[in-house]
Symmetry: C2
Subunit: 243 residues, 2 copies
DNA sequence: CGGTAGATTGAATAGTATCAAAATCAGTGG
DNA sequence: CCACTGATTTTGATACTATTCAATCTACCG
């Protein structure tokens, strides 16, 4: 039901967006003028792997899953994009296709820019270009890190690390521990770590027994972060679970 | 033996460098003025993981290995950088540290820019900024692809793919087949694919028996690309090895 | 209250890692 | 030219992690 968006409220919102950091209010205004804001529902697809890369997105409230399908049909869950993060960065540069699929998890608003608009903005505002590069460098580093993990670590460590990373990104304190505030199935975790839902299930079962986590249907609560970090770092630190 | 570098000869060299594509001769001249060129020997270290990221490099002839060491001491060989490619892109943007180590494989010249110089060039020339982004996007895609492979494919496929990728990057036709023109040990291949040198050795032995490759000490010659592609794609295409 | 997506569990198996030992090769210096 | 040295590679035996497949169970939704 597209409620109208005032310049002011959005200028406010953009203040927290890394991509627009350091821009003047006037510049931010220009960025907003060229943008489009729309509300998306859970399950909606922002873009599909293989589709023409025409648009760059920044979720305002919505959260988005980024997945890639390999030729053999195996799906991998690459990451979750939260409010203020950039999505579809390959657009605005090349006449290319999206290498991944972006699906909305949480309803909310999403800002977007066309290829050409973003191109023009980038040329006009070096600071914007710099921010973009900064974000890309961060992505590259993150991906390198992940390759390293996939190449050298065992499944248990990888799953532990992934849970910790997600907790950092979407953790919410509760009385029972830190809730991973994101509907995350065993399958999802498996796709993020390069394993199977069976193995993830077994791991979570073991961790539950060790009172490190508490799990439910698409739900994880971290009770003993320290112990999970120990697993992630492969310290032979088991059994020290008190505190 | 630092032989003097004329503007003209280097302007010529920069013509093939993706990072400087589309710049005018004048702009290229400015880029060169701000650069430093030096000759490096095999084994030299351009920068070390953890060191302050102060410089961006573009090899002119030299080739460079990029490796990352994980906290547990496991090393991963991320990639080889050839002439004209960019290296150390995280510099020129942030006051950060290199996340990887860059070691020279082949003697040759290397061009470099200080953090500040590149920063200024990027601000002055939107086209340069655009090129940088384009290269970063390519890196991101490549890394995503690699994560996908590491997450979903078996060792044999990964090794096959890696060999094919390297062949594409550094293959040289010979009478015996396509020589992988790069000193590459079993250990190196293992580090690129997230496995052990033992497994790589066994795979190469099997492929040799199938007359797909011919191997020696730090040497690989691809005799039957088609068969290796079949392995990489996990086609049950074995035994069709003739022609 | 039944239907269904999600999760658990067990048993069998495959794929790789690990470790130890021996073989091979490229240099190097006698 | 040959023996020596060290790096690289091969090979075998064994252990173990993680996958696969099948069956069952559970929670939630309409």
């Amino acid at each position: 039901m597209e409620r109208p968006v005032t310049r002011q409220s959005d200028a406010e919102l953009l203040r927290g967006v890394a991509l627009f950091e350091g821009l003047t209010d006037a510049q931010r205004g220009e960025v907003i003028d060229r943008s489009r804001v729309r509300r998306v529902k859970a399950g909606a697809v922002l873009f599909r792997q293989g589709g023409a890369a025409t648009t760059l997105f920044v979720p305002l409230e919505a959260r988005v899953r980024v997945t890639e399908l390999d030729p053999t049909g195996h799906e991998v869950l690459l990451r979750f994009i939260g409010p203020g993060q950039m999505l579809g960065g390959m657009a605005g540069l090349e006449r290319a296709t999206y290498p991944v699929t972006a699906t909305v998890v949480d309803e909310g608003r999403v800002m977007s820019w066309s290829n050409e608009a973003m191109q023009r903005l980038l040329e006009r505002h070096p600071r914007l270009a710099r921010n973009t590069m900064r974000l890309m460098v961060a992505r590259i580093r993150e991906l390198q890190q992940r390759c390293l993990e996939l190449a050298t670590q065992h499944v248990e460590q990888r799953v532990a690390r992934t849970v910790l990373r997600l907790i950092r990104q979407a953790g919410r304190r509760t009385d029972r521990g830190i809730l991973l505030d994101l509907p995350l199935s065993r399958q999802d975790l498996a796709e993020m770590t390069g394993t199977t839902l069976f193995t993830v299930s077994r791991l979570l079962a073991r961790w539950t027994q060790q009172e490190i986590v508490e799990v439910g249907r698409r739900r994880v609560v971290l009770r003993n972060p320290h112990a999970l970090v120990a697993i992630a770092d492969d310290l032979p630190d088991r059994e020290a679970a008190s505190g």
